[in-house]
Symmetry: C2
Subunit: 563 residues, 2 copies
């Protein structure tokens, strides 16, 4: 767990002039998640001297908290199994989901911009190449997950609905600790191969020469100790998104998100650093979304994990009116949108908090500490769980809990008819559970819903494994949920080979970015599990190749610095 | 009507160095809408030499298309009528609507950020002062609209629900031509008082000296003819939002907006120019929203006006499924959100296009060419109107029309059951109309819905003036609607006195912004008619005072420029 006391505070991001350096390498990489570690490895393997700076005391950023599934279209394992994944179809699937309102099946670019289309091409062409190289070098060996479906496997545009997901080879059986494994193996390989890794240094700004080329960075530690590093060829940022900068969240995201489970160090540093040198910002409205436990988010709990798995069959989500608002088992990126429905008559986000409610059956059989589940085992921290022997008592306790957080939710409270409504809602849900058909929200009808259904009682069971009647008798349990970020998807726009572009689409010489700190061409889409990390590895591979080809830049102190 | 051929193409926004100027003044103002004209006037009245540049051949920008209601809290007319509008209550109302999810009644700043709160204070404190000065000087005389309600007049937080709206004195009876009048009187006053006004010059970039102060601008005309102007004290941008830059819309707005009715010159110039000198962007996700006629937007019709007035009582909006999706008479900023509801199961914006449907009664009695109404008089351009003698024929014609635009709507088409569904929907609506009670969407229950209800048949009438049964017999009429922008609300962040701020909240010396080209603190709110222009006049007044107090800056050619 990282304390913010151990991390340097944000300073000015205005670029500095060369004034003498503490170190000098070919390529400086900033950040140590999947993007940073892979960029450092790829750069090093091309023969560069590489220095990697991480602002936290520990390596790994958000990646370390992730399951590290990685989505690799047409990967080697698919090819050897004979699973076909043609390029054009795969790009079509990406386009269909990224900008559904612009998707045009007959268009040469499926309605996408040239930038978006070329990013999808680059992902398709390079994810497997990058993945194989990482595996060959022993930095990231994988195992194939042939049975994991894409999140929109049922769409006619998905011609390879299973087989694109890989996982670090030594991840546990339940596949939840992939991030820990990947950070360990990638950073070991980096050290083995001579990458200079320094933790506890926050890069505050770039160093820019008189020709407006980026020639290094200035960083400092929590104690204030400074470090200026010259980058002969390039600086590659991989510092994550802006999930933990409240101001940026409010002013860019398409929804009033209250928090997220990115590493607490994801404060949008590169939005500021890039903006300060005239970078063009793009895709600032979208994020990798996921329901999260409200209280953990508001309490800035660094252990917060997204509710990937809405476990429990005798479990529903209800609004403050005591009615269901969505299919609780929908893929997380989609379900998260439900929390942000604007009520134009009342002038409020009526679903900003939804309440998960379950009974003893689900408590006894669906508890787990993995995948951000809110039904947690006995004896583990369950501060977020609200209990009641009866519906009435549960209602009272939910009310009190909501009151505690009213200042952060626009005063959200239960409607007066919540308790009665909830009884009616449970009755209706129980009928659906008995028949196996959710006539309101079609729960359990998609492959991805089974993937994340979590453990359930082995018996009795109903016709639909995602639903079972909620008991009429207590005890009852509840948890407050809201929509959150895994991390954001916007930042400086780059070329497909990671060059940060100015407002006229011209590269800012020497400045690169990969991962969640730069603009993703995926817009609103979450194509599948690992649609975050797979593309990042592909684009990091391209960025490292381009950075390697950069000319060495002048970085002698100038008149301006001398002043 | 402005042809894009008469406007210079976008060039690089990278700042230039001083290289010799064609003209020299104290203050350069860019843009000639309400923000630009008022900033020029206020600056001139403080004794400055002022040059105003407008990129279009004509003055007025979006303002000229507006009704130019202006929302002025605690205005002189209210005070003389004894209508109380205390500052704290007014700010509370602004806060409640700007960020409903953060509104905290007991908090000293009502849950808003310091920047937001101070902006509301500045608006309250200065809108009336600015308004009175413009009136006294004969630049903008007004009449009071004591009966026009705020858009959320029913909220308990609105303590002065009527009386805050003013209108140019010589606007017509129906109050729709205020913008034409205001641009005429303000520009006449500017010329009279010695402001140098030049049209047909697009400012492409600022000129920055070695101390990183802004000391002028470079502009060019459609023919390419350049113009470099030195600003001894400051440059004030008032160039409007980014409604007509597709790329920015897609990458910043919270919703997939297909167009809008801002002046066609509102292409986000200041997002680029500001970004190029390290400005901090804020409130990029929000826009002043309004339903618009889909076809006019997709055809880039410069005469497009927002559908402020959803006229017709025997009229409903239905989705592609033939069912109503909202209260058709809701205030436009709110109703616009309905179009962007994400369907997480189908992976589509199912309401991206809604279809207004009406009968002969509404056609005969609710047609008008004002306020963006889609029911237009016989003999005027009604290309957007789809007709059918029967529901079935209407359905066929709607289908064909939608097919024409499929490449721009993600392939949106009518559901197979549309026709039957529509009949059922009309039957249900007609029951509501007879009783006067809309049990589904509460149509007609708010003051603002009557304000914009438009003309209706004088008889027969029902118990609710916004609803009348739709005839069972044709002809029927339809129009395709989507959610659009009046203009966007995001851009470089400024201090309350208009100073553009860098990523560390420090002013960029000499650079100012007002109006829709800079970040609005109103976030998602549309407080009332004129909530656009009233605050702009207040903030323009403050910006002009601050610009007037700026020191004169050095602008001699430098080593860099000589290179």
């Amino acid at each position: 767990m990282t304390s913010s006391l151990q991390i340097a505070k944000r300073g000015s991001s205005v670029p500095a002039r060369p004034k003498g350096f503490d170190a000098e390498v070919d390529i400086v990489v900033v950040g140590s998640g999947a993007g940073g570690l892979s960029a450092a490895l790829f750069s090093r393997w091309l023969g560069n001297e590489v220095l990697l700076l991480e602002k936290a005391p520990d390596l790994g950023g958000t990646t370390r908290k992730a399951a590290f599934w990685y989505w690799v279209p047409n990967n080697a394992a698919m090819r050897s199994l004979g699973i076909e994944d043609p390029k054009s179809d795969c790009i079509r699937y990406m386009a269909r989901l990224s900008r559904p309102e612009a998707y045009a099946p007959a268009d040469a670019r499926f309605g996408m911009s040239a930038w978006e289309y070329s990013a999808y091409e680059s992902i398709y062409d390079n994810a497997s190449v990058a993945t194989e190289l990482l595996a060959e070098k022993g930095a990231l060996e994988y195992r194939h997950c042939p049975d994991v479906p894409d999140y929109w496997a049922e769409l006619p545009e998905d011609k390879a609905p299973k087989g694109r997901v890989l996982l670090p080879k030594d991840a546990c059986e339940t596949m939840s600790d992939g991030g820990e494994v990947a950070v360990r193996t990638m950073s070991s390989a980096a050290r083995r191969d001579g990458v200079d890794i320094r933790t506890g240094y926050r890069v505050q700004r770039v160093v820019r020469n008189d020709a407006d080329e980026i020639v290094g960075v200035e960083a400092n530690g929590a104690s204030g100790k400074g470090l200026a590093v010259r980058a002969r060829k390039a600086v590659i940022f991989a510092t994550g998104g802006f999930t933990h900068d409240v101001e940026m969240r409010k002013n860019f995201l398409s929804a009033p998100v209250l928090g997220g489970c990115a590493a607490v160090t994801n404060e949008g540093d590169f939005v500021n650093i890039g903006s300060s040198v005239g970078a063009q910002l793009r895709n600032m409205n979208y994020a990798w979304m996921c329901p999260i436990v409200l209280e953990k988010a508001l309490n800035h709990d660094p252990s917060l994990i997204g509710t990937f798995s809405p476990s429990g069959d005798s479990m529903i989500y209800v609004s403050k009116h005591g009615v269901r608002a969505a299919n609780e088992k929908l893929a997380y990126n989609e379900l998260a949108q439900t929390f942000f429905e604007w009520n134009p008559t009342l002038g409020e986000y009526s679903n900003l908090v939804l309440i998960a409610i379950w009974d003893r059956r689900s408590q006894d059989h669906s508890a787990s500490a993995e995948y951000g589940r809110f039904i947690v085992p006995l004896g583990t921290n369950d501060d977020h769980v609200i209990k009641g022997a009866t519906v009435k008592e549960l209602t009272q306790n939910i009310s009190s809990r909501l009151a505690k957080y009213a200042a952060h939710t626009g005063g959200l409270q239960l409607a007066p008819d919540f308790s009665n409504s909830l009884v009616t809602t449970i009755r209706r849900f129980n009928e659906f559970a008995k028949t196996g058909k959710d006539l309101d929200f079609h729960r359990g009808e998609r492959q991805v819903e089974l993937l994340f259904n979590g453990p359930t009682a082995s018996q009795p069971t109903g016709p639909n494994p995602t639903m079972f009647p909620i008991s009429e008798d207590g005890p009852f349990y509840a948890a407050l949920l809201t929509g959150g970020n895994l991390d954001t998807k916007g930042g400086p726009k780059t070329s497909t080979d990671g060059k940060v572009l100015d407002t006229s689409d011209r590269p800012i010489p020497g400045l690169y970015g990969v991962g969640n700190c730069v603009a993703s061409a995926s817009a609103r889409a979450y194509w599948a599990g690992g649609a975050t990390i797979g593309p990042i590895l592909a684009l990091s591979f391209l960025a490292a190749k381009a950075a390697n080809a950069e000319p060495v830049k002048q970085a002698t102190p100038t008149r301006a610095a001398a002043e």
